[in-house]
């Protein structure tokens, strides 16, 4: 029973419950592994045991003889069936050399633990895993590059034999002239900062099921993916099929967060195997594989300086970022590019210079995970601001106020350019209002007295703040095809992908509003390349803006067409008509109208009979709303923590988040996105740490070692919405999927420093671990430690 089924309700900006939920709640979801395919075989991969090694040979003879094993393919077995062993460039030519792309199966040189070397296809996954254990790989181990900073030393061995530098590239960002700015500055402060590796860690891992029909050469692929169209084109290209012969269907996707935003080697290998065997082949990633073969992100080292005048106005920011890109760069340098162009954040920074070193290391490749480089740059900038505030004796909020881009300067054209070469423009936002709203709600002014009281009782509490902007709605487009059926139901087909963020319900809301039908008559089909010809998928908080706008425009066109037909049929002017309860009818009249379904039937045509004049065939329209500029969401967070100085444990006691995501299609869904983003941010701030030992062996490969925040670690979050509508899309919206994560680490770091001010603790690294906190507390309080009893100070990490 749906409690809020109300016909003719305005849905936009309404917290309607999601259409997909009853199915998902009752165990009727169809995630990849639930897709039933009789006769399907199951795959498992042989993965590199070394971070860096030559592969002298792969002996699958024993594996091939095992009962239930159908095939074992290494690179040389797949090569004749593929257009190339390497995946095609995922970015424009010339940005980086071809060798930055992964192989479908690596032939000669493994460059990270977990890299796929061979695929076993068997009657069951268990048998496939048995066979994987029986495959013998002859490795010659080579030195591995593990810490990204090692690439700065030319004597470091190469992370790959075919290269002569461990730097993919060096990027330079900047404008103005930092030299005189710094030379003449009243104050210059430095920071050495780091953010550690984390990953998407969706609760459902990756998975792909491929079925090939040799008689028609049609390949159908189900994949738990964020980008069905890209996958479809790539499969067609790699398997030398026509684009129209390949169909990719995204089933229910159990979360993604960037982990599924790549055409992966495994997807191509499975499709190839299905083609070679002419049998359906399914691969479902297990958790260990997700840790060693699904993309990572976050790993960065920043060396920065900030120059300020006597009134704490920023004169310049400069420095270097060493970005750990991992062993491959399948999305080129979009994460460090984001980090480099977003460092200025919401502040006016007259001079800027950042050198970005893209380090090639023997670890899992890096592409965007929720936040896409913004959390890193935000941490860097916000730490600089806190540092400057402290050194200058200013309140942390005051120094920000003096440097924020004021609301009356919107749209603010920053001197930086996006990857397409066009200026980065903050379209709208009132950063000062976000700050004052948050500080009032959080009782910021009353906190110092509470802190003093707490310290008297031996308790260390602190308050932290941070401010962020996030570009959303990355173009160039997303598709929507709105089609009315003969029974009056409306379908929206979109290249957008549903992965939990409620895009289907959001699009149904928009379509229902525009078409004047009840939402429960709208079905949204997402991520099926067979239903809509073009699409880009879900990433960069883009789908509400792009697919939402396309849905709006397509629905508008359908409405216009229906009214045109209705006007002709009813003999009244179009302006006198509207669509109400699924019918084209006269405004201000109770007369029965013409059901949309009937118009849809008419527009299918009846051979030999008149077709309505001046309209196209079909009650449907497709829109690919084009947009290149991004809509900038912004946020201000205030966080209270309590630190246990005996254990280094941090508890978040209060969290206030002011979020401006423009108009909200669905406030309930938008709040859910912010909750999840902040929780992920708490994970990166306190818990999540992908570990590699000095040989490049991953040491966090289970949920016992890689700590996700639980219900006891995420406090109740107080979300306050501000709305500065975006002027650059028809709905006035901004993406909500990532805006909550950007400044979480910064706010928590700010709070922990505030709590531990008596010990002069300075937080320069994320995650903030209890071990590190005790080290810092001990250094600050001059207490004797076991380490310092040896005469050595604690190593800085």
């Amino acid at each position: 029973m749906k409690r809020d089924a109300k016909p003719e309700t305005k849905y936009f900006q309404s917290p309607v419950s999601r259409q997909e939920d009853p199915r998902l709640l009752t165990g009727n979801g169809r995630y990849l592994d639930d897709v039933d395919m009789p006769g399907a075989l199951h795959a498992a991969f042989v993965r590199s045991a070394y971070a860096h090694a030559t592969i002298n040979g792969i002996d699958a003879s024993a594996a091939r003889t095992m009962d239930g094993v159908v095939a074992v393919y290494a690179a040389k077995d797949l090569a004749p069936h593929l257009a190339s062993l390497r995946l095609p460039l995922g970015f424009p030519e010339g940005q980086l050399p071809d060798h930055v792309m992964n192989y479908v199966l690596t032939p000669n040189e493994a460059v990270h633990v977990g890299e796929a070397l061979a695929v076993v296809v068997a009657r069951s996954r268990a048998i496939a895993e048995d066979a994987v254990d029986a495959v013998l790989v002859d490795y010659t181990p080579l030195p591995a590059v593990v810490d990204a900073r090692e690439v700065l030393d030319p004597k470091t061995p190469m992370s790959r034999l075919e290269i002569n530098t461990n730097r993919y590239k060096t990027l330079d960002f900047g404008y103005g002239d930092c030299e005189p700015a710094f030379k003449n500055a009243a104050h210059v402060f430095k920071q050495e900062l780091s953010i550690h590796r984390g990953l998407g860690s969706s609760m459902e891992g990756r998975g792909v099921l491929a079925r090939f029909d040799p008689s028609t050469s049609e390949m159908t692929v189900w994949s738990s993916t964020q980008m069905s169209h890209e996958l479809s084109h790539t499969i067609a290209h790699m398997l030398r099929l026509e684009e129209n012969q390949v169909r990719v269907i995204a089933p229910d996707v159990g979360g993604a967060f960037g982990a599924k935003y790549l055409v992966y080697p495994e997807e191509i290998a499975i499709a190839a195997a299905a083609k070679m065997l002419a049998k359906p082949v399914k691969w479902v990633e297990d958790r260990r594989e997700h840790f060693i073969a699904a993309i990572h992100e976050r790993d960065q080292f920043w060396s920065l300086e900030i120059a300020l005048d006597a009134n704490a106005h920023i004169l310049g920011v400069r420095g270097r970022l060493v970005h750990d890109q991992g062993a491959y760069a399948p999305h080129s340098y979009n994460v460090p590019y984001n980090a480099g162009t977003t460092l200025p954040g919401p502040y006016i920074i007259p001079n800027y210079k950042l050198e970005v070193v893209l380090a090639q290391t023997n670890k899992v490749p890096v592409i965007p995970v929720r936040g896409a480089g913004y959390p890193q740059s935000n941490f860097a900038m916000e730490r600089l601001m806190d540092c400057a505030a402290r050194e200058l004796g200013l309140d942390r909020t005051e120094i920000r106020r003096r440097n924020l881009i004021p609301a009356d300067r919107m749209p603010y054209i920053t001197p930086l350019k996006n990857r397409a070469g066009t200026p980065i423009v903050y379209d709208s936002g009132d950063y000062l209002l976000a700050q004052t709203t948050a500080l009032t709600a959080a009782g910021y002014g009353e906190f110092p007295a509470r802190q003093i009281e707490a310290r008297k009782r031996g308790k260390y509490i602190g308050i932290g703040i941070a401010q962020a902007v996030k570009g959303t709605g990355r173009g160039p487009f997303e598709s929507a095809r709105v089609r009315v059926s003969a029974n009056g139901r409306v379908a929206v087909f979109t290249g957008a992908l549903e992965m939990g963020q409620g895009i289907k319900t959001s699009l149904a809301q928009i379509c229902a509003d525009e078409l004047g039908v009840s939402m429960d008559r709208v079905d949204v089909v997402a991520g099926d390349t067979g239903q809509v010809g073009y699409g880009l998928g879900g990433f960069a908080s883009r789908q509400a803006i792009t697919a939402g706008s396309s849905t709006l425009l397509a629905a508008r066109e359908v409405k216009a067409r229906a009214i045109k037909v209705g006007a002709h049929a009813l003999g009244v002017p179009e302006v006198d008509l509207e669509i109400r309860a699924g019918e084209v009818c006269k405004k201000d009249s109770d007369e029965t109208g013409i059901p949309l379904g009937k118009i849809a039937s008419q527009l299918r045509g009846l051979p030999g009979y008149a077709f309505p004049p001046d309209v196209e065939v079909g009650l449907e329209a497709t829109s690919m709303f084009r947009i290149d500029a991004m809509a900038y969401a912004n946020a201000f967070h205030v966080c209270e923590v309590a630190v246990d100085i005996d254990t280094g444990g941090v508890e978040i006691q209060r969290y206030v988040a002011v979020q401006d995501c423009g108009k909200l299609i669905n406030p309930k869904i938008a709040a859910g996105q912010v909750h999840g983003s902040i929780a992920h941010g708490i994970g990166n701030a306190l818990f999540e740490w992908i570990g590699y030992n000095s040989e490049g062996q991953p040491i966090t490969t289970t949920f016992a070692d890689y700590l996700l925040p639980t219900a006891c670690d995420v406090p109740h979050l107080e979300i306050i919405w501000l709305e500065t509508p975006s002027p650059i899309n028809p709905l006035g919206i901004k993406g909500a999927a990532e805006a909550g994560i950007v400044c979480v680490g910064s706010a928590i770091a700010s709070a922990v420093e505030n709590a531990l001010e008596p010990f002069k603790v300075r937080i320069a690294d994320l995650p903030i671990t209890p071990v590190r906190l005790l080290e810092l507390i001990d250094q600050g309080s001059g207490a004797a430690m076991a380490a310092s009893e040896n005469g050595t100070a604690s190593p800085a990490r």
């Binding site: 709640l25 165990g27 639930d34 869904i669 859910g672 995420v714």
Partner: protein, 162 residues
């Protein structure tokens, strides 16, 4: 390949099947019985996505062999309700947006079924502690907690009128 015959009750129905010795209860439910509402998130007993009730007690079905469930009663999320007739917990999750991708949801629902059976009036801290063995990456838990508290109230009200 070593197999055993098992006879058990699943969602109230008697089932007899031949299972491979190493097949987990989770895989038996999902593939042997086509009850795909129970999900596998880690297969090492931490994430809780695979949580079902065995003899009325929550169990991580990835850590139990199908063979171990012989003679027992298993309840999965499919026993709670249907899209046309939702269990109060499911209705509360729907109303409060307590799920996003839905992958962890069935495990969380089964955990809450046990919690609310043992404690009809939990406070927020108790709910969060009960949920600490179920990982969610999407929701930040907030709406799940709100849904659980609402469902508890609904169930108490139903008890009163019963």
């Amino acid at each position: 390949m070593s197999t055993h015959s098992v006879s058990l009750k699943i969602n109230g129905s008697s089932v007899t099947a031949e299972v491979e010795d190493r097949t987990s209860l989770a895989d038996f439910l999902r593939h042997g019985q086509r009850l795909t509402g129970t999900h596998l998130g880690c297969e090492h007993g931490v994430c809780g996505a695979c949580t079902v009730l065995v003899d009325g007690r929550t169990a991580r079905s990835c850590l139990m062999l199908a063979a171990q469930a012989d003679g027992r009663e298993v309840c999965t999320v499919e026993s709670l309700g249907s899209p046309e007739a939702l269990h109060p917990l499911q209705q509360a999750f729907w109303d409060h947006h307590g799920l996003q991708c839905g992958f962890c949801t069935s495990g969380i629902l089964m955990t809450l079924v046990e919690l609310l059976r043992e404690n009809a009036s939990p406070d927020e801290a108790t709910v969060r502690a009960a949920l600490s063995g179920n990982l969610c990456r999407c929701t930040g838990y907030q709406n799940i907690v709100a849904a659980a508290l609402d469902a508890a109230a609904q169930l108490r009200a139903l008890e009163k009128t019963a």
